[in-house]
């Protein structure tokens, strides 16, 4: 029973991890930008939702604010920070430090705007209901449905829409895109918009269940990075699977190992993966 319960808990966080990780993988695949500020997008979306709720706008409008915050930030950082750096040099670590600076700035802004304490939107949806001793919150089903729905829609988009196909092609060859006359710039923006939007469900569910602090983005960033790599850089199904796997590992480690090792266990897994199977679950060998 305990194991079953832990599986449920692990899946619940796993779905949310999967969504943000896929967003990260999508951005990386299409632009080759290692988006370290992805966690900041998550934090902004979550606080956007909280702002809406505080203003009493109702859940739908709050969701809209969250989405607007995520999209706005994603496009802003692409245009104002990553683009100028890419143009001049594009060194991986220059982007890293720039993104790190943005993360610090966003966290400070959230602290100035919302105070430093823990915030949460109280909702009956997070309260678990017993199913013959197995405790499952309505949010579990919501995250399950949201994740499946969004993954389905994303897969269809990438398969059928010309832009989706172009995004996937971009992951393989930038040169190809240029010869076909598609704007790389436009596609990059699209990737950032989609990838940032994918943080919204996780952020909103986080605001409803575990709650948020201004520094919440750090953990999300680590998880997305890890899942994207374990899944195979650039592979979206891989990132999704790895996200779920990470959620499960963290939860099961509490019982199997020791609670203090819960967060680290995911990274031990990661370290082993890189040593033994660097291409990830689905990824092809990628070298630069």
């Amino acid at each position: 029973m305990l194991l079953l319960q832990l599986l449920v808990n692990g899946l619940e966080s796993g779905f949310l991890y999967a969504l943000t990780a896929v967003g990260f993988a999508l951005i990386f695949g299409a632009t080759r930008i290692f988006h370290f500020a992805h966690g900041a997008t998550y934090a902004l979306a979550g606080y956007g939702f909280i702002l809406g709720e505080r203003l009493g706008l109702g859940p739908l409008a709050s969701l809209g604010i969250a989405l607007a915050a995520a999209l706005g930030f994603g496009l802003f950082i692409e245009g104002a920070v990553y683009r100028p750096i890419e143009r001049s040099r594009g060194a991986f670590f220059t982007l890293f430090v720039a993104a790190f600076g943005v993360v610090i700035a966003v966290q400070s802004l959230l602290e100035l705007g919302f105070g430093r304490s823990y915030v949460v939107v109280s909702s009956p949806l997070s309260r678990a209901v017993s199913w013959n001793g197995l405790y499952i919150a309505p949010l579990f089903w919501i995250s399950l449905c949201t994740a499946l729905l969004l993954f389905g829609a994303l897969a269809l988009f990438l398969k059928l829409s010309p832009y989706g196909i172009a995004l996937r092609a971009l992951a393989d060859s930038r040169f190809l895109i240029r010869t076909y006359g598609l704007s790389e710039r436009r596609l990059a923006r699209l990737a950032f918009a989609l990838g940032s939007a994918l943080t919204v469900p996780g952020a909103v569910l986080g605001a409803l269940s575990t709650g948020l602090t201004p520094s919440v983005g750090a953990h999300i960033m680590l998880v997305s990075l890890t899942a994207a790599v374990v899944g195979g850089i650039g592979s979206m199904p891989g990132a999704a699977l790895a996200g779920i796997l990470l959620g499960l590992t963290e939860t099961l480690a509490v019982d199997v190992l020791d609670t203090a090792w819960s967060e680290a266990s995911g990274f031990v897994l990661l370290f082993l993966f890189i040593l033994l199977r660097p291409q990830g679950i689905f990824g092809a060998e990628l070298r630069r």
Binding site: F34, V81, P84, I85, S88, R89, A91, F92, F93, T94, L95, F96, V97, A98, A99, F100, G101, V102, V103, I104, A105, V106, Q107, S108, L109, E111, L112, R116, L222, L225, T226, V229, I233, D258, A260, W261, E263, A264, F267, V268, L270, F271, I274, L275, P278, L286, R287, R288
Partner: protein
């Protein structure tokens, strides 16, 4: 005021050494790491234990710390020989998270969050370095020595091989270079110097705990290297000085309400970091074009 500047100067010297040691990996060998704080921490714990149990001899502490960190760096050399670029960053991320957890949990050795307190003032050739200025001088001397060694090495055949590997591994291999050995040596040297910096840090703070060796610290060290200019001799020092002195300078902003100081300072700090990277992507002292 002077004493405050001396205290800051010690930190700048220690983190300058630390950034220079990471620069060996990032700038010269092209091996990106966000796990440097682990080796810094290993060195600090080693020196702290020696000082508390055996002798507060500065040279003993620094050498032992360097040796231990250098030896332990094999755990980073292992993935560094197999993967590159983003994969290596992520592998080092895993290593850092693992390291922080071990530092927290192995309380018998590290004291966990409680840390190791009451580390005595270091001694050198039988003299106790009671004053802060003496410790600053010692730290500066070690920094200069390390910079001298790095400079010599990088201009010699070892450095040329290392940079050849960085620019094209297959080309270097076809020229008959022992890639694995050279990379492992570079990692050991960089991590060993980080351990030495850790020993100085333990004496400087006279208290060490896991909070000084976290992912945030690793990222900060990396930011020092990048902001100063990776692959240059003076760049990491400039980066360390800037990132340590900027928050200190910001704390002199007058008339901030006490409850907002943290957030406002951090905001300026973060923005400065980003703007610098946008307008000087190669770092303060970096060449504006070329590899890295």
């Amino acid at each position: 005021m002077i004493s405050y500047l001396v205290d800051l100067g010690q930190l700048v010297a220690i983190f300058g050494l630390l950034a220079a040691s990471l620069n060996l990996l990032v700038g010269y060998a092209g091996l990106f790491s966000v796990a440097h704080a682990v080796f810094f921490g290993l060195g600090a714990y080693t020196a702290a234990h020696l000082a508390l149990a055996v002798s507060p001899d500065l040279l003993l502490g620094v050498l032992a710390a360097a040796l231990l960190s250098g030896a332990a760096s094999l755990v980073f050399a292992l993935p560094a020989l197999r993967v590159r670029g983003e994969y290596l960053v992520i592998a080092s991320l895993g290593l850092q998270m693992l390291g922080s957890t071990v530092f927290t949990e192995a309380q018998g050795l590290t004291g966990g969050y409680g840390g190791l307190a009451g580390i005595p003032a270091p001694s050198l050739f039988g003299w106790t370095l009671e004053s802060r200025e003496a410790l600053l001088a010692a730290a500066l001397a070690i920094l200069i020595l390390a910079q001298f060694v790095i400079n010599r090495l990088m201009r010699g055949s070892f450095g040329r091989s290392l940079m050849a590997i960085r620019d094209s591994e297959s080309a270097a291999e076809s020229l008959g270079k022992n890639v694995a050995l050279i990379k492992t040596l570079a990692v050991a040297l960089g991590s060993g110097l980080a351990g030495a910096a850790g020993a100085l840090f333990a004496f400087q703070e006279s208290f060490v705990n896991v909070e000084s060796f976290t992912l945030d610290q690793s990222v900060l060290i990396l930011a020092m290297v990048i902001i100063g200019g990776a692959g240059t001799l003076a760049g990491p020092l400039a980066g360390a000085a800037l990132l340590l002195l900027l928050p200190a300078a910001l704390s002199f902003i007058p008339h901030l309400p006490p409850t907002e100081i943290g957030a406002v300072q951090q905001l300026i700090y973060g923005l400065a970091m980003t703007l610098l990277m946008i307008f000087r992507p190669a770092g303060l002292l970096g060449r504006s074009e070329g590899g890295g």
